[in-house]
């Protein structure tokens, strides 16, 4: 864990915790992600934005080991993790959520979050089979940690309900709580506000900002610009698989290429706006 980060100065000059270098993925003739390079410092909140199909989720899939890159490299604390198994990368401390919710529907809300505790608990097959005191004790610790993780997303009183009974918005919050219960060093959130109400979205923005206070590094794919502006220290913009811009939210807002690619269909000035998708960055 990076215990160094305290709230405050967003940018710091130290070795990045996560580095992506020249990461490329080709699907047949399509370059879904094309030589993307960026780095994330410890305690930083980085937003990855871009139009649908820009390659954001593909980028996440490669970082977290769910998809092998065609070329390029991912480094975590300076060590190369490209091509490692997804579970290995998660156990190293990079934990993600999914755009299309992945909830263990047959388990209760609490059990879902307790699976999140898998990373830092130890009970093995033998200890479980014999129900050794250590296994039972660890169950109790995990249950408490899971309840603590459910509290900030307001799901504590639904802990014992089947997870599939939750509405979609709450399932997304459950997925966040589950990822947090894993106590990751780097948290990758794939569209965490999709399906949330306006109030829930505001809450989530606040939750993400609070995570930094606890020293967590967050990379978030987000379409909601209010959330990006409020929560992110830095923004990476993808379009057609390429990184077209990187900077503070304010810089990105003013960047002409970004406006063209991402905010191009602004209703304010229809005549001059570059129609989305018609002029890909070279």
């Amino acid at each position: 864990m990076s215990g160094t980060a305290e709230g405050g100065a967003p940018r710091r000059v130290e070795r990045p915790v996560l580095e992506v270098e020249g990461l490329t993925r080709r699907f047949g003739g399509v370059l879904a992600v094309d030589r993307v390079t960026f780095a994330v410092a410890a305690g930083e909140i980085v937003a990855v934005v871009g139009p649908n199909g820009a390659g954001k989720t593909t980028l996440f899939n490669m970082i977290t080991g769910f998809l092998a890159p065609t070329a390029g490299e991912v480094r975590y604390r300076g060590a190369r993790i490209t091509g490692a198994a997804a579970s290995r990368i998660a156990s190293l401390g990079i934990v993600r959520t999914f755009q299309n919710l992945v909830i263990f529907g047959e388990m209760t809300v609490l059990e879902n979050v307790m699976v999140g505790c898998h990373r830092w608990t130890r009970t093995g097959l033998l200890a479980a089979a014999l129900a050794l005191p250590a296994a039972i004790r660890e169950d109790r610790v995990a249950a408490e940690a899971a309840l603590d993780a459910l509290a900030p997303v307001g799901l504590r009183d639904r802990a014992h309900d089947p997870a599939r009974d939750l509405p979609v918005g709450q399932q997304r919050l459950l997925e966040l709580a589950r990822a947090l219960a894993a106590r990751p060093a780097v948290l990758l959130l794939d569209e965490p506000t999709a399906g949330l109400t306006a109030a829930e979205t505001r809450d989530l923005s606040g939750t993400i900002r609070r995570l930094r206070t606890g020293g967590m590094t967050v990379v978030v794919i987000e379409h909601n610009m209010d959330v990006v502006m409020e929560a992110a220290d830095r923004v990476v913009v993808l379009d057609y698989g390429k990184k077209i811009a990187e900077g503070t939210p304010q810089e990105i807002q003013r960047d002409a290429r970004v406006v063209a690619a991402y905010l191009g269909d602004e209703p304010d000035d229809p005549p001059t706006a570059v129609p989305r998708r018609q002029a890909p960055a070279p």
Binding site: T64, G65, F66, A85, A86, S87, R88, A90, S91, V95, R96, T97, F98, V102, I103, F104, G105, E106, M107, E111, M114, V115, G116, C117, H118, R119, T121, R122, T123, G124, L125, A127, A128, A129, L130, A131, A135, I136, E138, D139, A142, P162, R178, A179, A182
Partner: protein
Amino acid sequence: MTGRRAGLAALAVLLAVLPYAASTAYLITLLNLIGLYAIVALGLVLLGCSGQVSLGQAAFYGLGAYGSALLSRDLGWAPWATIPLAVAMVAGAAYLVGLPTLRLADHFFVLATLGVGIIVNVLMVQLVSVTGGASGLRDIPALALPGVRLSADRQFYYLIWTLVIVTLVLARNITSHRTGRALRAILGSELGAAALGVEVSRYKMQVFVISAAYAALAGALYAHYIRFISPSPFSLYASLFFLIMAVVGGLTNVWGGLLGAGAVTVLDQFIRAEVPRIFPRVGGEYQTTIYGILLVLIMIFFPSGLARGALSAWRVLRGASPASRAGPAEGDGA
């Protein structure tokens, strides 16, 4: 927790007195076979908890039987030693089988286990010099305690059902705690489990090896109980039979293994005995048909298996207001 303990205690008491209530030799033998099948079905339930299905369980059952029979008969070792040895060897064999096959996606894994089952059964028939071929192995040593030879059905009954309870408790413990949550997470979504650091392939291998060991234990006991083995009880049909037991009982509930083994065996015996009595001129294939129809009915009305179905029925019976109970009960059954 206490409910589960009470269930186990009730089962233990029931099992202890059962031989005195059902004292015919036929019933004791039937109960013994149910116990052996229950151990195999429990292994399949463990496997089912990780979302996997095997159609090769009779192969492990048979390897356990042949392994312990050959070691004790030809090397003269005590069955007490050869049974665990055979179980360990089968577990090792399952590990080797699992290395390539567990990489396969679900239905291809099922086909691979089917293939393994067929290969092992063919080898039992063809390796005449080792297995005795289709005519089988005779004079398998009996289990013996110092001084006492375990030959009576009733003595075997207590041995088998003690082991059923032991394997049931172990399986129940494996499916709770951290390992159980990991297994159910894998069942829910392998991607989701892996994203949280659950080593999906390792867990799948563990339950596959344990399920093979369970089958081998039952097979080894069978060999020293019946004292004669031939390839036919270890054929593909037996694998199907075991899988039906696990599915009928409930593929993700350890009690399901027990219930399924009991229900399917009794059903099988009942149909064999009663159908010719009611329809005297009907051939054996009609028995199979009726058996099949009953299984389909069970799966329609208890799609999550008898264990879950019985649980929701119990909740409804005990229920408070019918309206508040109907929802969850339906949900459990669905």
